[in-house]
C-alpha cells in the first residue's frame, strides 16, 4: 500500500520534472499517468501493492474536486458577465460531441460486442 503510494508520487514527480525541463504546456500528473501506463504495458500486469492505493484514491476522486471547485466563489463577477456564453457553449458542444463520437464509433459496434463477450484469456491469439 505504502510502496504503491510512493510509486504514484514518484511518477507524478517524474512528470513534473519532464514538464519543467521540456516546457511542455501539459500538467505534470498527466505526464506521470502516461509514464505509468507505459510502464504497466511493458510490465504486463498491475501488482497489488499499486492497485490497492490507486483504487482507494480513485474511489473517492470526486471528493478531491471540491477544494478547487469552491474557488468558484472568487469568480462570481466573471460568471455574471459570461453566463449566457458559457451555458450556450456547454450545451451546443456537449450535444455535438455526443453526435460526432457516437456516429464515428457506431460502425464498429458489432466488433466491440464480439470483443467484450469473449473471455479475457481468449483474445490472446
Amino acid at each position: 500500500m505504502l510502496i504503491g503510494f510512493l510509486i504514484l508520487l514518484l511518477f507524478q514527480f517524474a512528470g513534473e520534472l519532464i514538464v519543467v525541463v521540456s516546457g511542455l504546456p501539459v500538467p505534470g500528473p498527466v505526464v506521470g499517468m502516461v509514464l505509468l501506463l507505459a510502464g504497466l504495458i511493458v510490465k504486463g500486469d498491475v501488482p497489488d501493492y499499486l492497485r490497492i492505493p490507486s483504487e482507494a484514491l480513485l474511489k473517492h476522486l470526486a471528493l478531491l474536486f471540491v477544494p478547487a471547485g469552491v474557488g468558484l466563489m472568487t469568480h462570481f463577477g466573471l460568471l455574471q458577465q459570461d453566463w449566457l456564453a458559457i451555458l450556450t457553449a456547454l450545451i451546443i458542444s456537449t450535444a455535438l460531441t455526443i453526435v460526432v463520437t457516437a456516429l464515428i464509433l457506431n460502425p464498429s459496434a458489432r466488433k466491440l460486442q464480439a470483443l467484450s463477450q469473449s473471455e479475457p484469456g481468449e483474445d490472446d491469439r
Binding site: L8, L9, Q12, P25, V26, G28, P29, V30, G32, M33, L36, L37, L40, V46, P53, S54, L57, L58, L61, A62, L63, L64, F65, V66, P67, A68, G69, V70, G71, L72, M73, T74, L78, L79, Q81, D82, L84, A85, I86, T88, A89, L90, I91, S93, T94, A95, T97, I98, V99, V100, T101, A102, L105, S108, L112, Q113, L115, S116, P120, D123
Partner: protein
C-alpha cells in the same frame, strides 16, 4: 466570538467541513437515485460556498485546510493509469476505431465550446477555462492552470458538462438510433467524463467499462491536444 475565530483559523476545521459535506451530499444523492443534477460535488460546492459567505471566510482561509485534500489530486491523476491499463488490455485489438472516436470527440468538444463562447464575447479567462470542460476535473484543473484559465471555474464547468451529457445523451441516442451498449458507454465517457461513466453503468457493465476507458483516453489526449488547438484558434 473568540471560540469561532480560533476554530475558523485552524486548517483542521475546513478539512472536516469539506469531508462532512461531501459524505452528506453523497448520501443524499444516493437516496435520490443518483441523479446527475444533484451530483454530490455540485451540491457540496454550493453548500460550502454559502457557508463561507455567511461566516465571512475568505477562500484563502478555506484552502489552508482544504489543500490537504486538493494535494491528493496529483497522485490520483497518476493512478488513472491503472484502470486505463485494465481496459487497454481488453480492447487493444480495436484500438484504432476507439482512438479515432475519442480524438474526434475531444477535438469537437473543445473546438465547438471555444468557438461558440468566443462568438458570444466571453472573456479570455472564461475561454481558457471552458476548453477542458469535457475531461475529468482531475485533468481539467491542471490543464486550465497551464493554459492560463481559472482552475476553479474549469472544475465547475466540467461538472455542468457532466450533468448536461447525462441529460442529452439518451435523446440523441434515440434520434441517431444508437443501440449498442459499448458505443453508448464510450460516447458518454468522451463527452461527460466520470459523470458520464457513472451514468453509463445504468446501461450495463460493458457500457460502464467503455465509459471508463473513454474518460481516461480523452483526458490524456486532451491535455496534449489543447495547447495546440488554443494557439491554432488564435486564443490566448
Amino acid at each position: 466570538m473568540e471560540f469561532w475565530t480560533f476554530f475558523a483559523a485552524k486548517p483542521l476545521m475546513w478539512l472536516i467541513v469539506t469531508i462532512t459535506t461531501f459524505i452528506a451530499t453523497s448520501w443524499l444523492n444516493r437516496r435520490l437515485g443518483g441523479t446527475p443534477l444533484l451530483h454530490p460535488v455540485l451540491v457540496s460546492l454550493f453548500l460550502i460556498i454559502v457557508f463561507l459567505l455567511l461566516t465571512g471566510t475568505s477562500y484563502e482561509t478555506y484552502f489552508e485546510g482544504a489543500q490537504f485534500i486538493h494535494f491528493l489530486l496529483g497522485p490520483a491523476t497518476v493512478a488513472l493509469a491503472v484502470p486505463l491499463f485494465d481496459h487497454f488490455e481488453r480492447v487493444k485489438k480495436l484500438l484504432l476505431p476507439l482512438l479515432l472516436a475519442c480524438m474526434a470527440g475531444a477535438v469537437t468538444a473543445a473546438a465547438s465550446a471555444l468557438l461558440v463562447a468566443q462568438a458570444l464575447d466571453a472573456s479570455l479567462g472564461t475561454l481558457l477555462s471552458i476548453a477542458p470542460k469535457s475531461v475529468t476535473s482531475a485533468i481539467a484543473i491542471g490543464v486550465a492552470e497551464k493554459l492560463g484559465g481559472y482552475p476553479s471555474l474549469a472544475s465547475g464547468l466540467v461538472l455542468i458538462t457532466g450533468a448536461l451529457g447525462c441529460m442529452l445523451a439518451p435523446p440523441i441516442y434515440r434520434i441517431l438510433n444508437i443501440t449498442d451498449e459499448a458505443v453508448k458507454g464510450f460516447t458518454l465517457g468522451v463527452s461527460a467524463h466520470g459523470m458520464g461513466t457513472a451514468f453509463a453503468f445504468e446501461y450495463g457493465l460493458m457500457a460502464g467499462a467503455f465509459g471508463g476507458l473513454a474518460m481516461g483516453m480523452t483526458g490524456a489526449f486532451t491535455a496534449f491536444m489543447l495547447p495546440l488547438l488554443v494557439s491554432l484558434l488564435g486564443i490566448g
